[in-house]
């Protein structure tokens, strides 16, 4: 028993890097690795690049921003350990979650107990951020449960009316299934004929059986809301079966590159982020910053927006910025997304999501990925 107590002591007194006291301290726990890393790691790197660029330009009023990034591999137990370390030992004044929904609960509980605001960036927005919002919880991620399905069904109705058979595709993880089952209800209300949702278990060797059941049920349109892999594998299998219908999927960060790879005229992606091909000044900034990084620039919009929100919050909170000060500042935040999104991100005391959520639909039109329908606003009640 003796040796392991000594080892334990060693980790306890690990060299707490003595930080210059005047830096703003922000902590992040995210899925840098693990099965879900594909859609979170690029966003985290985008945020790191933003903060580095901010510090290079003198930080906030001369003080640098110290971003502590911990990997939780999408596992709840690691998420809990990270949040205790960030709040207890690193004493951060703002905590960010960029991971699977399974890590939410322990981090929410710790943040509310420590009175430190928790920002969900690139991870799905939990229901607690919608009005009437719970204290301390904010979300800057593009996709949002409930509103995505409504916007998608509006678009489908606009294109093909309501006399259609609607296929529904989700992955067998609780969040994706929940949203698609809600969409089934919404579609039925509008008079469409929704099929029973096709829920695909994650490790699938061959997607053809799932595509067959959708095709044989005679779907004209198919709506998919799931991780990008499930969405794209299903449409590829459907095309191989000779299905010519229209397929609309949620535009994750990989969407732009993938639409160019697939070159499918009837494949729509609905999203809240703008296209990098528009080459707005902010896109150029991201490309410049992302030169030489492991992930492609067009997957970093989510992380960049999170950086904007963090900067705005810290700048509004002033110095010294403890949890309460940053939280108070975030209540009235108004962040201009410089074209990355359809509009600004506004937080109010009651709405920690955004005042209006903008959706855009795009697809491949033969030579490039083009915008089929420009920003469509939905006010968040």
């Amino acid at each position: 028993m003796r040796p392991f107590i000594a080892l334990l002591a060693a980790t306890a007194l690990a060299p707490v890097t003595a930080l210059a006291q005047e830096a703003y301290r922000v902590g992040l726990s995210g899925a840098l690795t693990g099965p879900a890393a594909g859609s979170y790691a690029p966003a985290i790197e985008g945020l790191q690049l933003y903060i580095e660029r901010l510090n290079a330009a003198g930080g906030i009023d001369g003080r640098p921003v110290e971003l502590i990034v911990l990997d939780d591999t999408g596992e709840p137990s690691r998420g809990a350990t990270n949040s205790r370390r960030l709040l207890g030992q690193e004493r951060v004044s703002l905590m960010i979650n960029a991971s699977l929904s399974s890590t939410f609960a322990p981090m929410i509980a710790d943040a509310q107990r420590a009175g430190v605001p928790l920002l969900f960036a690139s991870s799905a927005c939990p229901a607690e951020v919608y009005p009437p919002a719970q204290p301390l919880l904010y979300c800057s991620t593009a996709f949002a449960a409930r509103y995505d399905s409504r916007a998608t069904l509006d678009f489908v109705q606009e294109q093909a009316g309501t006399d259609i058979d609607l296929g529904l595709v989700a992955m067998a993880i609780p969040l994706s299934r929940g949203e698609i089952e809600a969409a089934e209800g919404l579609a039925r209300e509008r008079g469409m004929r929704p099929q029973a949702p096709t829920i695909v278990p994650p490790p699938t060797a061959d997607y053809t059986p799932f595509a067959t059941s959708i095709q044989q049920a005679g779907a004209d349109w198919v709506y998919a809301w799931a991780p990008w892999v499930t969405q794209v594998r299903t449409v590829e299998a459907l095309r191989r079966l000779g299905w010519e219908g229209n397929y609309i999927a949620w535009g994750h960060i990989e969407a732009e590159g993938e639409l160019a790879r697939l070159r499918d005229a009837n494949l729509y992606a609905i999203g809240a982020n703008s296209l990098f091909s528009e080459n707005l000044p902010v896109h150029q900034d991201i490309r410049a910053a992302a030169a030489g990084s492991t992930y492609p620039a067009d997957q970093m919009a989510e992380g960049w927006i999170a950086g904007m929100v963090v900067e705005a919050a810290l700048r509004a909170a002033g110095w010294p910025a403890d949890g309460a000060a940053v939280n108070a500042a975030m209540q009235g935040l108004n962040v201009d997304t410089q074209g990355l999104r359809g509009g600004p991100i506004q937080f109010t005391a009651d709405n920690h999501f955004r005042a209006t959520q903008y959706y855009r639909v795009y697809r491949w039109n033969g030579e490039a990925v083009e915008v089929v329908r420009d920003w469509q606003a939905y006010s968040v009640e």
């Binding site: 693990g34 594909g38 053809t208 059986p209 067959t212 892999v229 590829e236």
Partner: protein, 289 residues
């Protein structure tokens, strides 16, 4: 009609993967739970060879040969030390090997989703093979490859001398050694062939559906197919794969797609209770364990 085609494709995927389990168990009495990871490593090897030479007709065979040698090396460097150890120790060594490979793959290739078909310029078009039934070219290739692999394995085990020696080593290693058969070569050969067939399956799946960590789970799903047929016979692996694949496809179509994930294991439990040594396995395999 399309359902039958789907069943044939899924059967050949599971068969090509599960023959790796059967070969290793039948000859060296070791259950290789790292087969899923070895299959994934084979697919990533294709990513490496595709980086150097973009002609698929060269890249794929090159990667296949690399995986054959790697399979043999896995035996010679690691599993050879485990001969004579307890059953649990041997299984756990394969599990540990699997964990090690998973870690190394992420270190070298990052966790992102990769597409080996892009550098090779392969686009998976689809063909109409029967009225009302279409299949992707790669799936067709996979079915043909599975048929070729099983055909050559059955022939080799029946006719070629090395095939006989593999069967002999599986039945009575001591007597095989007394008759001058070099057991280490046989085991290395069989581990090589198992990784070869697994890697070919891994490559074809990744050319069709892209490549990432989840390929390992497909290896795990093929495992019940090998066991249902009896860990001990190739014919069993084929029949087992057919049963599991047919159950999955029909359940997805008519009952509830969610069951596809757990169906193979339900069949496995039923089989273990009724006939633990599987349909074609030899009962002796059970007592010996």
């Amino acid at each position: 009609m399309q359902l039958i085609v789907n069943i044939v494709v899924l059967t050949s995927i599971y068969a090509l993967v599960s023959c790796g389990y059967v070969l290793i168990y039948r000859v060296s009495r070791v259950l290789n739970l790292a087969h899923g990871e070895l299959m994934m490593v084979g697919a990533y090897l294709l990513l490496v060879t595709a980086g150097y030479v973009t002609n698929p007709m060269v890249a794929i065979p090159l990667a296949a040969i690399l995986s054959l040698t790697m399979g043999a090396l896995v035996y010679l460097l690691l599993m050879r030390r485990m001969t004579g150890e307890s059953v649990l120790a041997a299984i756990l060594t394969t599990i540990a090997l699997g964990i090690l490979l998973r870690g190394l793959i992420v270190i070298f290739f990052s966790a992102a989703h990769q597409y080996p078909s892009v550098p090779l310029g392969l686009h998976s078009s689809s063909i109409q093979i029967l009225p009302g039934a279409r299949i992707s070219t790669l799936s067709l290739v996979l079915v043909l490859v599975t048929a070729a692999v099983y055909g050559s394995l059955f022939a080799a085990l029946r006719l070629s001398r090395w095939g006989l020696r593999m069967r002999a080593a599986g039945q009575n290693p001591l007597l095989a050694a007394q008759r001058g058969i070099n057991l280490h070569f046989i085991y290395a050969l069989v581990w090589g062939i198992a990784m070869f067939t697994g890697s070919v399956a891994g490559m074809l799946i990744s050319l069709d559906a892209g490549l990432d960590q989840t390929l390992v789970l497909i290896g795990l799903k093929a495992f019940p197919a090998a066991l249902v047929g009896g860990l001990d016979s190739l014919l069993g692996a084929l029949v087992g794969s057919l049963i599991v694949a047919a159950a999955e496809v029909l359940l997805i179509q008519y009952v509830n797609p969610l069951l596809a994930d757990v169906v193979p294991f339900l069949i496995l439990i039923a089989m273990l209770v009724l006939r633990p040594w599987g349909l074609f396995g030899t009962r002796e395999a059970l007592d010996r364990v």
